[in-house]
Symmetry: C2
Subunit: 208 residues, 2 copies
DNA sequence: AGTGTTGCGCTACGGTGTAGACGCTACAGT
DNA sequence: ACTGTAGCGTCTACACCGTAGCGCAACACT
């Protein structure tokens, strides 16, 4: 059910998911779907919850919080890349719904990370702030990474491959001159660098 | 035109924007709109560009990059809070379009920040990474902040006000115990704290 | 005056989410 | 055994969507 919805989204994007199409995929009357989710919005929330349920934060008694954060971040990135079409839903869906009304599965990572951080020595308030900084960074990174798409993989010249020749030279000199760097984008590495910064910041906050 | 679209979105959310409704608002045939934007997607891109055009990065010859980043971040937050319904579009719309094909106005901040960072001493590659970290953080923060919505402002008990009593105590003890902190969310302050971390990280990267 | 071109308004098509009516089935009460 | 009724799966129907396509009107040019 939710799995089918996810499959459709993965295959053809969010817009491709319609009640009728899903009915067809399941070979059921589209109206039957309303037994499982009482509206399409709820169904979308369900899909987000399903995907997010793949992110489990290991329980470590606060031993090595830094490493847990790193591993979790990598896992989050993997999941996002595995379901790129779901990412817009993931970052967008909670906006309408106040925290406490969100699907419970969605709150699991928050709860577990709070647990981890508090165990690591943060006071509750600090843990919350740390969580926000960390999760915000993660979302930001994933959004960034998904935007970096090579346009025309056939072309060898970076400028052309990325379509950058379209940009007026006079107005966007810096972007154009970074063609090589843009073409060589390495998401995994960039994530690590970002993590270094964020975790260093958290460390300072913890000890200072 | 774009202004009207923005007004409709601000008033009633993205879903409330339809070609027909816009036609009505402008007292024109809905089909006329296709003279200005050749599809609804393009129109949405236009709205994003319009909003983003309010974010101008001051030109400072690299004198005080740190302060520029701080001011820009605050401005970005202001804009996002002024147009909360546009934020989903802002973070979501670029996902389908490779960087170079995006509306030019959208690339302005990237170009200008690169300029700023390079002027501040970053090498081009480092500037790009710094930009990504910074902008990713900003998007993350704004998404976070927009999620923190008080549910029932009448209620005085934080737990009830936020609807947190709905959460199973045994499964979500930490979230529940943070009710007071959640209720007292201060976006401006949280932005500053995040900026401290990010900028400290960038500094280290610059000097080390 | 005749003709080509351009732009505008409208209609219509194929889709959407979902409310509500419709009939079947299966059980409860007599 | 018969009937009332409650539930449930199905279908129809409504109001709306984005936009392709068409015909008319007005203008420019010969």
């Amino acid at each position: 059910m939710l799995e089918t919805a996810l499959a459709l989204i993965d295959a053809d994007g969010v817009d491709a998911l319609s009640m009728r199409r899903m009915g067809k995929a399941l070979d059921r009357d589209p109206m039957r779907l309303y037994r499982f989710a009482s509206s399409k919005d709820e169904l979308l929330d369900g899909v987000v919850e399903l995907v997010l349920s793949e992110l489990r934060i290991p329980h470590t008694d606060g031993a090595d919080w830094e490493e847990v954060l790193r591993r979790t971040a990598r896992r989050f990135r993997e999941i996002a890349l595995a379901h790129p079409h779901v990412v817009p839903l993931m970052v967008t869906r909670p906006l309408g719904t106040p925290l406490a009304l969100r699907p419970l599965g969605t709150l699991r990572p928050l709860e577990d990370l709070l647990e981890l951080l508090i165990g690591a020595g943060f006071d509750p308030k600090g843990a919350l702030h740390a969580y926000r900084l960390y999760m915000g960074f993660l979302q930001g990174h994933v959004l960034n990474e998904l935007q970096e798409r090579v346009t025309d993989p056939e072309e060898t010249d970076d400028l052309l491959r990325l379509g950058l020749h379209r940009l007026p030279v006079r107005e966007f000199p810096r972007i154009r001159s970074l063609a090589a760097e843009l073409a060589a984008y390495d998401g995994a590495r960039e994530l690590e660098e970002g993590l270094d910064v964020v975790i260093a910041g958290l460390h300072r906050q913890l000890t200072g």
